[in-house]
């Protein structure tokens, strides 16, 4: 899951080296924290959050099999 977020984020930003993904596991959910370079934040959020929404959709699908709820936070 972490890898998926990393790959997608790196493909969208100008500074792939600044992409940082952390997993915070909880009992029934996983929180994925995505950090990117300040000038790239807009690229992973998109107009009206369109990119972020697509991002969450894909990650949710990938996570479906694990049975855990996944939250992607862009920080």
């Amino acid at each position: 899951m972490k890898e998926l977020v990393e790959i997608l984020a790196k493909a969208l930003v100008d500074h792939p080296e600044a992409v940082d993904v952390r997993l915070v596991e909880r009992e029934k959910s996983v929180r994925i924290e995505l950090r990117v370079a300040p000038e790239d934040v807009g690229k992973v959020i998109g107009k009206q959050g369109r990119v972020a929404r697509a991002f969450r959709q894909v990650v949710k699908a990938a996570a479906a099999r694990s049975g855990k709820k996944v939250v992607v936070e862009i920080l």
Partner: protein
């Protein structure tokens, strides 16, 4: 990735030779000058040709395909990606078993993935192309379903003499319906509402 190293009297000449060998245009490559030409002393001693390395940049389609294969790998999915690319659009088709997870409810995941691939593929590229993604023939089947639905509802709208409003659909799906019912003199179609909840209305002509 393809690359060639060429020499020539000038940098331009060397680049030209390299482009000819790669069979691509100037906007599709990156050029690195390895050695500037030097005329030498009095044009006699130590004259040296220009030397350049010309690397073919991956096309949007190639970029999208590589990213998609990477995504399949990290999701532990087995699928073969077929790529078709022309001047305006890129079509990626994934073939394999158990790929439903990539489609999602009503193709939601498929559309999200297609959107992300499109962004990633055309980033930093002078050529912008439309990226179309299909998994296991889902879109093709969905298109047929939509066309059949359009024809059926058109009949209903005509018979009842009333507007029929469809459920919200993506621009791509709406397009299929508009196209299926285009140019008819008994009914016409239009869309209303705001994305992502825009819906088609089929209306009888009076």
């Amino acid at each position: 990735m393809q690359e060639v190293i060429k020499s020539g009297k000038t940098v331009e000449e060397a680049v030209k030779a390299a482009l000819a060998e790669l069979g691509v245009g100037e906007e599709e490559v990156e050029v690195e000058v390895l050695e500037e030409p030097s005329r030498g002393i009095l044009g006699l001693f130590g004259s040296r040709p220009a030397k350049v390395r010309v690397v073919k940049k991956p096309t949007p389609g190639e970029k999208a395909k590589a990213l998609l294969e990477e995504i399949l790998r990290v999701m532990s999915l087995e699928g073969k990606v077929h790529l078709k690319e022309d001047g305006e659009s890129v079509s990626l088709e994934v073939e394999g078993e158990n790929l439903g997870v990539l489609i999602g409810r009503r193709g939601e995941t498929l559309n999200a993935l297609q959107y992300l691939l499109g962004l990633a593929a055309c980033r930093n590229s002078s050529v912008k192309k439309r990226i179309l993604l299909d998994v296991g023939g889902y879109r093709k089947k969905r298109e047929e379903t939509l066309r059949a639905l359009a024809l059926r509802l058109a009949e209903k709208a005509k018979k009842r003499g009333r507007n029929i409003v469809l459920e919200p659909m993506s621009p791509q799906e709406r397009r299929v319906i508009h196209m299926a019912l285009k140019g008819r003199d008994d009914i016409y179609t239009f869309s209303e509402g705001e994305e992502p909840f825009r819906k088609i209305v089929i209306a009888p002509r009076k």
